[in-house]
């Protein structure tokens, strides 16, 4: 899986780092749509996403000297965006998901695969996006980091402040919650062994 977004423009990045405002403008034009989408997925409202996009680019501009040119620029960009969005959510204290819940309590189940297939078959991208909007912040953020930004489990653990070993649990729980939102019932999430 590759990181979504445009191919890194090494020259433009180097010039932007050297203070070239036109190169910076180029970077903005190229990467702003992807970062806006990221913020749109991670944050509850469109207005939040718009504000966050501009703030992320302000931060990127300030922190550009910290960017390690040996690593993909897009990954770094998403990391800055993820940090910003997660900080925003934390500051607002709107993380309604069960953060204090013991992750070990997730039951080891084998859901009805056919029912799950059917659900996936029937749902459109738009419905998935709407369902995502209904998810608690951490579940949504976890899914966005993994399936939009293509972050590794280590990066997600670092970002969300959970132990690396429990990233899978966070992701699976997020999927269950998404299925609940899509289905409108907990049938699939708590599907019995087949």
């Amino acid at each position: 899986m590759t990181v979504p977004g445009p191919t890194d423009s090494v020259e433009a990045i180097a010039r932007a780092r050297a203070g070239d405002s036109e190169a910076w403008g180029d970077l903005y034009r190229v990467y702003a749509p992807a970062i806006f989408r990221f913020c749109r997925r991670a944050l509850p409202t469109r207005e939040d996403a718009e504000d966050a996009t501009t703030e992320v680019f302000m931060k990127v501009r300030d922190k550009l000297h910290q960017y390690d040119a040996t690593r993909p620029f897009t990954s770094w960009l998403y990391k800055v965006a993820a940090n910003h969005c997660w900080d925003l959510l934390r500051r607002r204290k709107i993380r309604q998901d069960k953060e204090t819940e013991d992750l070990d309590t997730l039951p080891l189940e084998h859901p009805d695969a056919n029912q799950l297939e059917q659900l996936i078959e029937q749902r459109t991208s738009e419905e998935v996006r709407k369902a995502l909007d209904k998810l608690p912040s951490r579940a949504r953020m976890a899914l966005v980091l993994r399936y939009y930004s293509d972050m590794s489990y280590d990066e997600i653990a670092d970002e969300l402040g959970v132990r690396r070993a429990f990233v899978g649990v966070v992701l699976l729980r997020a999927r269950h919650e998404l299925r609940q939102a899509l289905e409108g019932s907990g049938a699939l999430a708590a599907g019995g062994a087949g």
Binding site: G19, D62, A113, N114, Y147, Y148, G168, V169, L172
Partner: protein, 558 residues
């Protein structure tokens, strides 16, 4: 570390895998052995295979749903960069407008009057370009000190022009153009070829000797009894001109005595200057004591910055004096414009033009003194003057700071990397200050003496120019450092400009406060100069060492 739930296979192949295990397998998070077990299981177990496929499709659906551009970039975000750029252009225009006004006001309020005063005194007629193009060794005129501001203005105007035309040039080409242009100006034909140098404990140009061309003399005691058909540059302890110099005398010494004849001008940085002889044109001097003996004469004007000035002889033109004490017993064919504590005009004195005196107390005029233009125009320094002076000083500081900010802006734009490196070097306080004191003092000496003597005037002048540019830039470096201390580091050009401007503003506020305490302002400025100068020198040294592959020495002081 405890194991995460769900990573264990539930029994052997006969039992179904839990969803967590399949997800971790799908995402490549299982260890190799476990992954192989899962792979083998899904080959045999249809239900687990379907679940694996369903989870995989779910992942794809998630990614697709999130990546699809259902919402285009909002217009306000699309225009954000343009808006920023537009506002930046607006800021540029305002900044340049203000700074240009500042430079112009600075020039017209402070520089031009001084220049016109110099011109009145017979030292005018040349400007920076004229000096560069037509005279080459322009530094031989003291007014080059005044021209520093012209250089500053020139750099700013040049930088602004380059900014305007930056679409047509790349930055490197611009810098090269500047350097080439500057070198070209400096390499213009000069009279360097005719320069003869002499040095030693005692130098004597004997009576029978005639030297054609310019002469550079450095020694403890210098005596010119013969004739020099050209200019003389003399640096020593005691200098005496008994003979004849057809050109100018430019001198720095403890004591200079001119009983002989100089057809041109005298420009002197000396402790005591005594002229019992004849000077054909003008005299300009910074000295403790200057005396024009009774037999002495100056063909044109006299401009002095002295503690004590005595005019017993004859001055053909105007006298402009910034002296503590002026005693006039001789003849002045022009006017007298004096500022200081005391002016005494004795009964033997004669002044053709008007006499103006600005000072603490009334001038003393003895009966019998001939003042052809009537009474002395006296202006007493009062409290009001002082408050006006204070206002004028603050305005001067404001304009000066604005000019520096603009100058710094141009420098940061032209040399962004060097600007950052220099401020970083400045963070190394000990090394910067140490090197600043060392290089700040030694470079001009080296430039004037070594380069001038052995290498040639163009390189010597280039060295002095470099020194002057560094001195001017030192304050900007210090401003940048203060800004960085307060706001932290940034790679953004505007961030750097903002930090530099903040630092300069702080310096601009601090200096007038320190101005109230004697010597403290001077020391503060000195430290800033040395610090910034050292940082520039350190950065240049590192660059040279890096490009030449030499080992960069650790800072002198930690």
């Amino acid at each position: 570390m405890s194991s995460p739930p769900g990573t264990n296979l539930q029994g052997k192949n006969r039992q179904h895998l839990d969803e967590m295990t399949i997800l971790l397998y799908l995402e490549g998070q299982l260890e190799r052995a476990k992954a192989m077990d899962v792979s083998a299981h899904t080959q045999e177990c249809g239900s687990c295979r379907v679940l694996l496929r369903a989870l995989e499709r779910e992942s794809r659906l998630l990614t697709r749903a999130m990546l699809e551009e259902d919402e285009p970039l909002p217009a306000r975000l699309a225009n954000f960069q343009q808006a920023v750029k537009r506002s930046m252009q607006w800021i540029w225009m305002v900044t340049f407008g203000l700074a240009a006004t500042g430079v112009y006001a600075l020039y017209t309020s402070y520089i031009e009057p001084v220049q016109s005063r110099l011109q009145d005194a017979g030292f005018g007629g040349t400007n920076l370009l004229g000096l560069l193009i037509f005279q080459g060794a322009f530094w031989k005129g003291w007014q080059s000190m005044v021209s520093l501001v012209e250089i500053l203005a020139l750099v700013i105007i040049g930088g602004s022009a380059l900014l305007l035309f930056r679409r047509w040039f790349r930055r490197g080409a611009l810098a090269a153009l500047l350097v080439v242009g500057m070198c070209g100006a400096l390499m213009m034909p000069s009279n360097a070829a005719a320069l003869e140098t002499r040095k030693g404990e005692t130098i004597e140009i004997t009576k029978s000797e005639t030297i054609k061309g310019d002469l550079l003399l450095t020694g403890h005691r210098i005596v010119i009894d013969g004739t020099v058909d050209g200019d003389v540059y003399a640096f020593g302890q005691d200098i005496e001109v008994n003979g004849h110099i057809t050109g100018d005398l430019l001198t720095g010494a403890q004591s200079v005595r001119v009983p002989g004849q100089i057809d041109g001008n005298i420009r002197a940085f000396v402790n005591n200057l005594t002229i019992p002889g004849t000077v054909g044109r003008n005299v300009m001097t910074w000295s403790q004591t200057m005396t024009l003996d009774g037999k002495g004469s100056i063909g044109r004007s006299l401009l002095t910055f002295c503690q004590t000035l005595g005019i017993e002889g004859k001055v053909g033109g105007d006298v402009t004096a910034f002296d503590q004490t002026l005693r006039l017993t001789g003849t002045v064919s022009g006017g007298v414009d004096a500022k200081g504590e005391m002016l005494t005009i004795t009964k033997t004195a004669e002044v053709t033009g008007p006499v103006k005196f600005e000072g603490e107390s009334q001038p003393r005029v003895e009966d019998g003194a001939k003042l052809h233009a009537g009474n002395i125009e006296f202006t007493k320094h009062s409290e009001k003057d002082r408050s006006e002076n204070r206002r004028s000083y603050l305005l001067h500081r404001l304009l000066w700071t604005s000019s520096f900010i603009l100058y710094g802006l141009v420098l940061i734009w032209l040399m962004p990397k060097f600007a950052v490196d220099t401020v970083t070097s400045a963070e190394n306080i000990g090394a910067s200050l140490g090197l600043g004191v060392l290089a700040g003092i030694s470079l001009p000496f080296a430039g004037v003496l070594i380069c001038f003597t052995f290498v040639g005037i163009p390189l010597g002048v280039l060295g002095v120019i470099l020194w002057l540019v560094m001195i001017f830039s030192a304050q900007i470096v210090f401003g940048g450092l203060i800004g960085r201390w307060i706001l932290g580091r940034t790679e953004d050009v505007w961030g750097r400009v903002g930090r530099m401007a903040l630092g300069m503003a702080i310096i601009g506020v601090t200096v007038p406060i320190l101005h109230e305490i004697p010597m403290v302002e001077f020391l503060f400025k000195l430290v800033i100069m040395a610090w910034g100068f050292g940082a520039i020198a350190l950065t240049m040294y590192k660059r040279i060492a890096r490009s030449s592959g030499a080992v960069v020495l650790p800072p002198m002081v930690a």
